[in-house]
Amino acid sequence: MDLHTLTSMNWGIMAPEFAILGTAIILSLLDLFMPRTQSRRPLGILAIAGIAAAFIFLYLQFGHEGASLFHDMYRLDSFSKAFKLILLLGTGLILILAYDYRMNEEEEYRGEFYYLLLTALLGAMFMASSGDMITLFIGLELLSLSSYVMAGMRKRKLESNEAAFKYVVTGGISTAITMFGMSYVFGLTGETNLYAVGAALRDTSILQNQFLLVFAFFITFAGLTFKIASAPFHMWAPDVYQGSPLPVTAFLSVVSKTAGFAIILRFFLLCFSSAPGIKGDPLLLQVQPYLAVLAGATMIAGNVIALRQRNIKRLFAYSSVAQAGYILVPFVSVSALLFETTWFYLLAYLFMNIGAFAVIQEVTAASGTNDISGFAGLYKRSPWLAVAMTIFILSLAGIPATAGFAGKFGIFMNALGTNPGHYILAGILMAGTVVSYFYYFNIIGQMFFRSGQEERAIQHKKGLLFVTALCAAATVFFGIFPGTALHFFYNEFHLTDFFQTLGQK
């Protein structure tokens, strides 16, 4: 590849990524040359500006035809745009949380927080755009490595150290497993490009190696589900969520998870959707029962263990595990509604979970405790915050007139829309939802029924208030008019290009 080919490529399609990368570089240089004692908070504003720029570039790409670089290694198709929208929106909101997040004195001057968030985002965006195992893996690692450091950001806190250490070790193992599985895929097909892999696996001669094929499927699946924290690879989530600074927890539970789902959809649907299974059915249909068990176990584990949590961050970690189980349901059933319902749920999840984390950040800072009793009497201290938190919780619990319900309804349609319908899975989903009422409504009970020790009104931070208000409004809006988001999805994104090679040389 000479210089001429390099310059002739359509680099413009990577504009959002370049905006993020550029901002991250500028931030790191500024951080390097700024005097040690100066506050790094202005860097946060710059980071938000970078996200805004990337968002504008992404917006300009809407409606454009799909394009790709390096033989589909990097793809700009509607799938990647749909997911990048969520990733950018989520990170933007989390940066506002981070801007208002108070570490203790000496740690406040740490600027790497902001650009690590951006590099993590960059990795996530690459995951959404990759059409090749190599780029996919690079994106995954960029996201992971940045996240490990962010988890341990409060380096003088023991629990933060523990979080970072556990995350690095378990994350490293999962990376190894992913790599191991991908090596099987490569070994079977001799290709790293997902489309080429898909084409190679369509060949029935692959059935000679059917056990290797199934093995490859499950190993890669196990490795990739680590990011979404589904059972049985969810054990890291509670400790890491608890130990990380709150904006990082929000990032892991929303952005990192969204990227995980993007990669899972992309990888398995492209590689395995036409792979033959053992008795004639496609492999993806044959493994459904196993995946259903995993999704069911994730929902059960998340919801049941959440019942006993007193620490609000741990509680949300298990809640997040349970939510991962819900979002896995469409993937298990592979119905015609898979993309829009998964995407919609992730969008809803973005607003309700980041909103909830904004309130948690506000409340834990005001009450000085992560215990759930910190919410006691919140209704007296700050009625609007309590109302907003109620909206987020109702949405997480899937109560109508919130985005969470509209999303869950879509998931249900997936589960019951295939033939035969996944009634047991739907049943577990519903049972899990009812169980989740216990712990979700317990928070509501604390806010409204109990009275706290503290009666003083909470001093609101503007950024947090903005995020809370925006998320609450969006949660209600997409609950009452889910059609607007779906309409947008159908108009802007044409998933036919998802299954096509875009083939720019």
């Binding site: 119905s335 015609a336 509604l337 993309f339 829009e340 319902t341 109702l394 109560i399 109508p400 007139a401 319900f405 509209a406 309804f409 879509g410 249900f412 349609m413 589960a415 019951l416 829309g417 033939n419 319908g421 009634y423 739907a426 049943g427 519903m430 049972a431 939802t433 009812v434 009422y437 216990f438 409504f441 509501i444 009970g445 409204f448 029924f449 008019f481 889910p482 059609g483 779906l486 309409h487 159908y490 998933l495 036919t496």
Partner: protein, 501 residues
Amino acid sequence: MSHLLSILLFSPLAGIAALSVMPSKNEKALKLAGLLGTLLPLLLSIIAAVTFDRSASGIQLAEQGNWLSYKMDQAGAGSSFAIDYEVGVNGLSLVLLLLTAVISVLAALGSWTIKKDWKSYFIFFLILELGMLGVFASQNLFLFFIFFELTLIPMFFLIGRWGFADREKAAYSFLIYNGIGSAILLIVFVALFMRTGTLNYGELAKILGGHTDPALGGTFRISLLIALFVAFGIKLPIVPLHTWMLRVHVQAPPSVVMIHSGILLKIGAYGLFTFGIGFFPSEFKRMAVWIAVLGVINLLYGAFLAIVQTDLKKVLAYSSVSHMGIVLIGFSALNEAGVKGAVFQLISHGLISALLFFLIGVLYERTGSSDLKDYSGLAGAMPVTAGILLAGGLASLGLPGMSGFISEFLAFLGLFKVMPVIAAVGALGIVLTAVYILRAVLSVTFGPPKDAHSGFYDLTLRERVPAFVLLALVLFIGIYPGMLSESLRTVLDTILLGLRG
């Protein structure tokens, strides 16, 4: 006024908006705003009732709008799943809408005993009313479900925040039981949606009545019906799914119980009627014996336990369980008399239980207790209250000339025609009802008066309005049932036609 029904449906929002901008300390103004907030839906529902054409069959005041749709073209199926906004009323839902509006106003009057946080109380109260109106106005399962769940959340708060000592436990048990019910309901609705492609009541009844599609085969239908039965059985409630309801009746503030017992329990029966009988008439027929048996169990179980209660609230709670048995009995008969009796019972019990719980609220405010032995001899100090309580009790036990009589009579008449043995066993319940009602009412009014009673005052003007209005309605239906059955005729005709077919 083409959007009359939607305006009616969302009219509680006006009250909510007004309340939310009012200062939270002004008790009088907040209560007044709450009351006015319930008067608006009442006014609109009266207008709706006037414009309603009783002789025409089918859905009236219908409105339809596009809401959201899922495209299926990625799979090449080319079809799309549309969920629309569809509201409308038939004779039955119109009557239930009116009942909701009336009881809401009277319960708002009964809410004067609420001691704290009037602002949020009335906001939740109006959200609850919005949900109930929506349940009865929906013509679409998705919409029905949304409003159905919308009643859940304000009830949770109303019980958990303004109830009596053990309120939190009652609130959680309400939430969990009803949450399970809604969960099952949602599975049924989505399963129907995915198999038929529509959520509209009328279209679903047509498709399911068609019997042609193998995807809608016997097992599918019967399992959906059983699921519906469990879901609405929790709401109704059917023994053994009733425990939550007793807690709510005892722990929730009386004004909320007026609504709960007067309307929310009826949603279960309404759902069974509209979806159970309406969608699966032949399967319902096959299950009729079991439903009748369940009905008799409810009737007798509730009545027996009501006899031994010492707390007036518990007597009435078990009485509700017992009276919902009559609804089941009427449905299981599946003939004109039976179904009519069941529907009459819905409305009649709604009025009577609202009246009785209103009186409990009055008594509790004076005595601070609901234990029967603390009441004895109240007739001396509060003659009007005692008289109305007696009248309400008589209506509840089915005295001719009152609404309770018509419904019990018709329900049993219907059942005697098809299952005489079960009906004969069930008829025992009527005797038991007389026993517990008279025991409860008489031990409140007669007996030696307590010293503490001397300072009690009788019903105030504010309290007289709900009591007299409800009693008048009970008497009106009892004396002139034709008024009600005229509105219900076309609905019952449609249902009975489906049953014969």
